[in-house]
Amino acid sequence: MNCLSLLFGIFIERSLMMDILTRFANALPGNISQGLIWGVMAIGVFITYKILDFADLTVDGSFVTGGAVLAMLIRAGVPLPVAMLCSFLAGCLAGLVTGLLNTLLGIPGILAGILTQISLYSVNYAIMGMSNQVAVSVDQFPLFIASRRIAVSNGFPTVAWELAKIFLIVGAIIAALYWFFGTEQGFTIRATGSNPNMARAQSINTKKSTVIALILSNGLVGLSGGLLAQYSGNIDVNTGRGAIVIGLAAVIIGDVLGSAIMRGHFNFVARLAFTALGGIIYFVVLSVVMLTGVPGSFNKLFSAVIVAIFLAVPYIKSSIKTSFRRAARNSEKQTLSDSKKKGAEGDADVD
């Protein structure tokens, strides 16, 4: 019923429409910060999926690992910067495991990721003291970000400052990655992802660069999990379920949008920035869908549909340009006009 009310909003009460708009506006800062936090995770996915050409499913596990490590350390009184660094390192460790499974034991990439992800589910339980949820309340601990502080009721300056802090983190990560992938080491990862045969012929140890990329990627995923734990004030062992799909959604939304807008100038920094933007767009659109009254549990279906749509766009676009159906139509047209021409010539001959 609510769904219909949005679609036909103009025909129903103005006040209801205003209500939905206000709710949307109120939720916007929160959606943006959530989008950016997941954007950090998506940038991690970008490194494996786009640069290394490795579909890494470790992230569903390493995301929670990062969050769990942060929550437990904060609760143990460890200073926040150290705890955040540790959430990064915990993710790195998860990436290392997947990397070694793949390069040392020859387990195919996707399966190696799944194995690590599944084992992390147990590991995460253990980190969280055998409970499925750990709270880190902003009332008790000095957190870097918290959803409570981003509530619109706190006034514009507070909200703006909180958002700026997350933007700063994302900016710093993009700058660091821009530097790293411009170095000789970074080049080896790009070459490995682009053409492993060529990389080896240029004396690059492709196994080593695969492992480094997985470590870096999952480190960012862990950091992102740590940020989300602070933002939502708790970490649940199930938070990571389907995280890879959200990450992929952000990567793909950013890629499709970025290449449409930037065209020839879609450089590395822009690609990372658009990946983070993809995260924001994902959460904003998700909130719009949720405002129509769709139950929250449908968010996974939503993310799958989004990824499917954006993955299909480039394919459909190209098949519109060249398809068998189109070829048949063109061919038919041509035969028709040819035979007409012939007919006309034939008439002329008779004359």
Binding site: Q185, N197, I204
Partner: protein, 271 residues
């Protein structure tokens, strides 16, 4: 410079697909030798090159490059002193990276990769001059992705990359086979020029008998994983395609039944 002694390799041992690819291959190349390798399908030409490059470990024998036995080194370690160009133009370059980035990767072949910039301003100028020598207009497209280049352009670039850091051995594995005749001739000419100018030791696999005679100072013919004919110097200069065919029958005891090689014979006769 390069000495192969009794190199053997069997693929899929103990299975129905068992294939004795190399049966005791021995070859001794002097510094500056440019040897062309011919032979029918499955003769072991490319396998010999892959054994030298270290694509997989050999079963027995030794491969000595510049005094060092390299059989224990994996592919990426041997790449430090071996330059390679492959049959498929897609294999030798990274398509999603820029022309200048590909060159920068090649420039660091054999070196430890650090956290210094992957390409410097000075290098860009150097590559610009270097690409000019190819005469393909690539010097004006240095920031283009290599994926946008034609097969011939990619092979020319790969040649440049393989020799940017002077290799002890240059391996050319049918590197013109996927190109049209005109481009193939151009890339061959370029190979000759680069090998001569840098005084490189090179091995070139080819199906084209006329090209095998024309290029290099030495010619090796393989059959069933062994070298059946090895000729150099004056004797090689006076070879003809017919003589090669004769040699093949004499050494292998069978007629040459390889369409591609026979086609290249027909080509040679026409021209």
């Amino acid at each position: 410079m390069l000495t192969l002694t009794d190199v053997r390799k069997t693929f899929n041992p103990g299975t129905i697909n068992e294939k004795h690819a190399l049966n005791s291959v021995s070859l001794d190349l002097d510094d500056g030798d440019f040897v062309t390798i011919i032979g029918g399908n499955g003769a072991g030409k490319s396998t010999t090159l892959n054994a030298v490059a270290g694509v997989w470990p050999i079963d027995s024998g030794s491969i000595i490059i510049n005094g060092q036995n390299v059989v224990g080194l994996p592919e990426h370690k041997r790449a430090g002193f071996i330059g390679r160009v492959f049959q498929d133009p897609m294999t030798g370059t990274a398509a999603t990276m820029e022309i200048q980035e590909n060159l920068a990767l090649a420039k660091r072949r054999g070196q430890a990769r650090t956290l210094k910039w992957g390409i410097t301003k000075k290098e860009r100028e150097e590559y610009h001059e270097l690409l000019k020598t190819l005469d393909l207009g690539l010097e004006d497209r240095m920031t283009s992705k290599v994926g946008l280049l034609s097969g011939g352009q990619r092979q020319a670039l790969t040649l440049l990359m393989a020799t940017l850091k002077k290799p002890d051995i240059l391996l050319l594995d049918e590197h013109t086979a996927a190109l049209d005749p005109k481009t193939a001739a151009k890339v061959l000419e370029l190979s000759d020029k680069i090998i001569e100018e840098n005084h490189l030791t090179a091995m070139m696999v080819t199906h084209n008998m006329a090209a095998a005679i024309k290029h290099g100072n030495r010619l090796v013919m393989m059959n069933n994983g062994v070298i059946i004919y090895d000729v150099k110097g004056e004797e090689k200069k006076h070879l003809t395609v017919d003589m090669l065919l004769e040699k093949f029958e004499e050494a292998s005891g069978s007629k040459l039944e390889n369409d591609r090689m026979l086609l290249s014979k027909a080509d040679a006769e026409r021209s």
